[in-house]
């Protein structure tokens, strides 16, 4: 809540007077009701009714007393004027002195005329107002505001509420006046008006219920380009706003909300798009303040400030920021480029240096003063020179060649001719070995093409020279051999004949070879076709085998459920057998499909995060009924710390079901099967233990092979195609795990498999690397 301005506080002071007046008014109304009693007393009013009068005395005494007390302790003064020329004062309260400086006596005794106390500038208006209102027959009261001059010459503003008293004939006999000093109020209002008018901000007020403007200062009139305040106050806020605000809301709707908020909270500050009367839109800030000078008559004062320039400045700042950002970016780019260039230069230099040092030729750079500037590694090695003892030294001191300091010095020649020079030279190096060199001397130029030294290039041609001489020797040998060859011409002819025979043989072999190559190609094509056939077979089996199964199963189920009519118990039993065998056949087809897919690497794996505890209890639940048939109890135990795995849940369930199926199959009636899972190193270890007949040691590894049956004879009794374990192994291997069995004959078997805790990212991809049917089970 904003602090209330002083000026409003002062205005509010006058409200107290209003309250006081209301109290007087009510007392007076009580008296009105007693009009009948007083009507016989023509020239007296209740205020000073004769105390001794029989009828009224008692009442009037009380009331008079009360009113006098009330009046004298209040800032209100009471007057009673007789309605004759000059309005003589018949009564006034004692506190009249506080306002006028004159005593009540002075007025009543007519020492001072009331009219004389009125400010001459207001006198004429005051009298004409009284005359005007007095002519209205029904009027009972009216209010005037005028200035008076007090006894000591001070000017004060007075509010005077006059009550007209008429006798029975309707003739006005008296005026009662209730007067109070409103100088402070007037000053406050004046000050407010001055502040209001002289403010550079556009100030305006508007009030309910229609929320039209009630005032607008000079700045307002100019801001909105109105003719004058009168034109402005014909409008409401929506008349000086565009149809819609920048956020798209209708100005009328939004203005209502803003007003409501200001009225509710006391003030409301917000941005608003305004519009001048000639239609130009401009952004502003608006401060609405609720003002309540008269009780229950609140209105709003608005301060509107044009922020076009601020907005413009804001935009300019943003543009400047963008520009700065752009400059920054450019700067950064340049820096980056410089860095890159510097890096490139460095690299180039390093490269050049490397090339220089690793060149096949020895290179040395010498300046005009015979000082060595650069010398490469090859040169140093070629002549057995130490680098630290050569750079910056005089060349003839370092090299000590025969030609040094003679006319044959290449430097002297170069300075003379400024020409490239090439020649062969044999130089003895520091190890006293002769080196044959092909030397190239080049002038070393500065950027102005002036000779500032020499670049010498030494190519070691010692080896070349050696080969050259060897070649010469060979050549001589060849000449002599040629002579010998001529003599063996005859032998050669024989040899040619032999060669021809061999060639013929080879051609024959070659023909045979291409024949067999053709054959291989044909076989290859055949194999490819077979492979295609196999894929086709897979497709056909998956679709063609399972489709008829669907019809068989569906119809049998429908009949069993008596959807197609009632059936006898015998029929029901028969159909149940059909259904059971259909399911068996379906499972077998499923197994063959799985094996084929595992074999061809087309098995589909779908991984999901799996809770091991839940998976095992699901499987146990599934197996319960077939275990119960043999009165076998399944105990399952999953240690708490076993974490969730990312696996193909359905496939792993299939493994567990296969293992448990086997366990049930090979257990005796009334025994126990244990199913466990626990963490072991980086794997989860699963175990299915039975106490059945067990597997002999020599067969333990083979049980996982396709179509393997421990004992064909026995297995006929137990049923099954011997595919379950092979499928299980394929699934476990694909998951990156291992599967094996620990068993003793007649004691029982424990099938164990592991799954790695770290999930295998792409099972299908991984699976292609696993050769399921050649790897042996690991124990």
């Amino acid at each position: 809540m904003q602090k209330e301005p002083d000026i409003v506080k002062e205005l509010r002071e006058s409200e107290k007077l209003g309250l006081f007046y209301t109290k007087i008014q009510s007392t007076y109304e009580q008296l009105e009701t007693m009009d009948d009693i007083f009507e016989n007393i023509p020239d007296k009013t209740i205020i000073f009714a004769d105390e001794n009068h029989e009828e009224t005395g008692k009442i009037s005494k009380e009331i008079t007393h009360e009113i006098n007390n009330l009046i004298n302790t209040s800032p209100i003064t009471f007057f009673l004027w007789k309605n004759v020329e000059g309005w003589p004062v018949e009564f006034t309260s004692d506190n009249v002195k506080n306002i006028f400086g004159y005593t009540a006596e002075e007025f009543i005794s007519c020492d001072v005329s009331f009219i004389d106390a009125i400010h001459p500038d207001d006198l004429k208006r005051t009298i004409s107002e009284v005359e005007k209102y007095s002519k209205e027959k029904t009027r009972k009261e009216f209010t005037q505001k005028y200035r008076i001059i007090t006894k000591n010459g001070k000017i004060k503003w007075i509010e005077d509420k006059k009550i007209i008293r008429r006798n029975k004939q309707g003739k006005i006999t008296h005026y009662h006046g209730i007067l109070w000093d409103i100088t402070n109020h007037k000053i406050a209002v004046e000050r407010y008006k001055i502040l209001f008018d002289s403010s550079r901000d556009a100030l305006m007020t508007f009030a309910p219920p229609d929320w039209k403007f009630t005032s607008g200062n000079h700045a307002t009139v100019i801001l909105f380009k109105a003719k004058d305040e009168a034109e402005f106050t014909k409008m409401g806020p929506w008349d000086i706003s565009p149809k819609y605000q920048p956020d798209g809301e209708s100005s009328t709707e939004k203005a209502k909300k803003m007003i409501e908020k200001a009225m509710d909270k006391g003030s409301n500050f917000f941005e608003w798009m305004h519009k001048t009367l000639d239609g130009k839109e401009f952004p502003t800030t608006v401060l609405l303040t609720r003002v309540e000078i008269e009780k229950n008559k609140p209105f709003l004062q608005a301060i509107v400030r044009d922020i076009t320039e601020i907005k413009k400045a804001e935009e300019e700042i943003i543009l400047a920021k963008i520009e700065l950002e752009r400059k920054n970016q450019q700067h950064m780019d340049i820096m980056k480029r410089m860095n890159r260039l510097s890096h490139e230069t460095e690299t180039t230099l390093m490269d050049l240096n490397q090339i220089f040092n690793n060149a096949a030729d020895g290179i040395v750079v010498i300046n005009k003063d015979f000082r060595i500037l650069r010398i490469n590694q090859t040169y140093l090695e070629m002549f057995g020179i130490d680098k630290t003892r050569s750079i910056g030294k005089k060349c003839f001191e370092v090299f000590q060649f025969q030609r040094c300091q003679t006319d044959n010095c290449p430097m002297r020649k170069i300075i003379k001719n400024n020409k490239r020079d090439e020649y062969e030279e044999t130089i003895m190096n520091n190890n006293n070995t002769d080196i044959s060199c092909f030397v190239t001397s080049l002038p070393y130029l500065n950027s102005n093409n002036e000779v500032i030294g020499i670049v010498e290039n030494f190519r070691d041609i010692t080896e070349l020279k050696k080969i050259e001489s060897e070649l010469r020797e060979y050549s001589e040998q060849l000449v002599s051999m040629n002579k010998e060859l001529v003599s063996t011409q005859d032998e050669r002819e024989d040899y040619v004949a032999q060669l021809e025979e061999r060639t013929a043989q080879l051609q024959k072999i070659n023909t045979e070879l291409s024949k067999s190559e053709k054959k291989i190609k044909q076989q290859n094509n055949k194999l490819k076709k077979l492979d295609q056939l196999k894929s086709a077979f897979l497709n056909i089996t998956s679709h063609e085998l399972r489709t008829p199964m669907s019809s068989i199963k569906g119809y049998v189920q429908m009949i069993l459920k008596e959807t197609l009519g009632e059936i006898t118990d015998e029929q029901k039993k028969s159909l149940e057998i059909v259904l059971r065998n259909t399911n068996r056949l379906d499972n077998l087809i499923q197994d063959i499909l799985d094996i084929s897919r595992l074999e061809s690497g087309t098995m589909k794996f779908i991984t999901e995060i799996t809770n091991i505890n839940k998976m095992i209890s699901d499987v146990v639940e599934t197996m319960k009924s077939s275990a119960e048939l043999k009165e076998i109890t399944i105990h399952s135990e999953v240690l708490d710390n076993v974490q969730d795995l990312s696996i193909d849940q359905d496939r792993v369930k299939q493994v567990l079901i296969n293992l448990m199926n086997n366990a049930i199959k090979f257990s005796s009636e009334g025994t126990v099967i244990n199913v466990r899972a626990k963490t072991e190193n980086e794997n989860i270890l699963f175990e299915v233990q039975d106490f059945g007949r067990g597997i002999p040691k020599n067969q333990q590894k083979m049980v996982f092979d396709t179509f393997y049956q421990v004992d064909s004879g026995v297995d006929r009794k137990f049923g099954g195609a011997g595919l379950g374990l092979a499928i299980s192994r394929g699934i476990v291997l694909a998951h990156g795990g291992k599967i094996w069995v620990e068993s003793k004959v007649n004691k029982g078997s424990t099938f164990k498999f592991t799954l790695p805790i770290k999930s295998v990212e792409d099972l299908e991809e991984r699976f292609k690397d696993v050769d399921v049917f050649r790897l042996q089970a690991i124990s």
Partner: protein
């Protein structure tokens, strides 16, 4: 009562599902392939369609694309012999109209349950 359309090139299977649906009280119609289905769909205006994914002629995707040009907007249950991964499921269901799938060989209870679930 809801309308179910059975699309399968296998007459036995088609008749069976059709019978199942009729026994469940649905109004039914059959089609023997994609072209036949697209010809009949707007006359019958099915709520649910069981659509075999392996039929001669139009592929499943072509059928699903062409349904978009039709007045009818049925829910489609695919009949398949393979399992789908989550990604494949998403891609299938993104093709529009597909809401579920059942795998062969069908289980009577599952077919009925699946259709019933989507009729609501």
């Amino acid at each position: 009562m809801a309308k179910v359309m059975v699309v399968d090139d296998e007459p036995d299977l088609r008749d069976m599902i059709n019978l199942m649906m009729q026994k469940e009280g649905y109004e039914t119609e059959t089609a023997e392939n994609g072209e036949d289905f697209l010809k009949k769909i707007d006359d019958f205006q099915p709520d649910i369609v069981t659509l075999d994914v392996m039929m001669p002629g139009l592929t499943t995707k072509e059928i699903l694309d062409k349904i978009k040009e039709k007045k009818s907007d049925p829910k489609i249950i695919l009949c398949t012999v393979v399992r789908f991964s989550d990604n494949e499921k998403k891609r299938l269901f993104d093709m529009g109209n597909v809401i579920d799938y059942i795998t062969k060989p069908f289980d009577f209870d599952i077919v009925i349950k699946t259709v019933k679930e989507h009729v609501k």
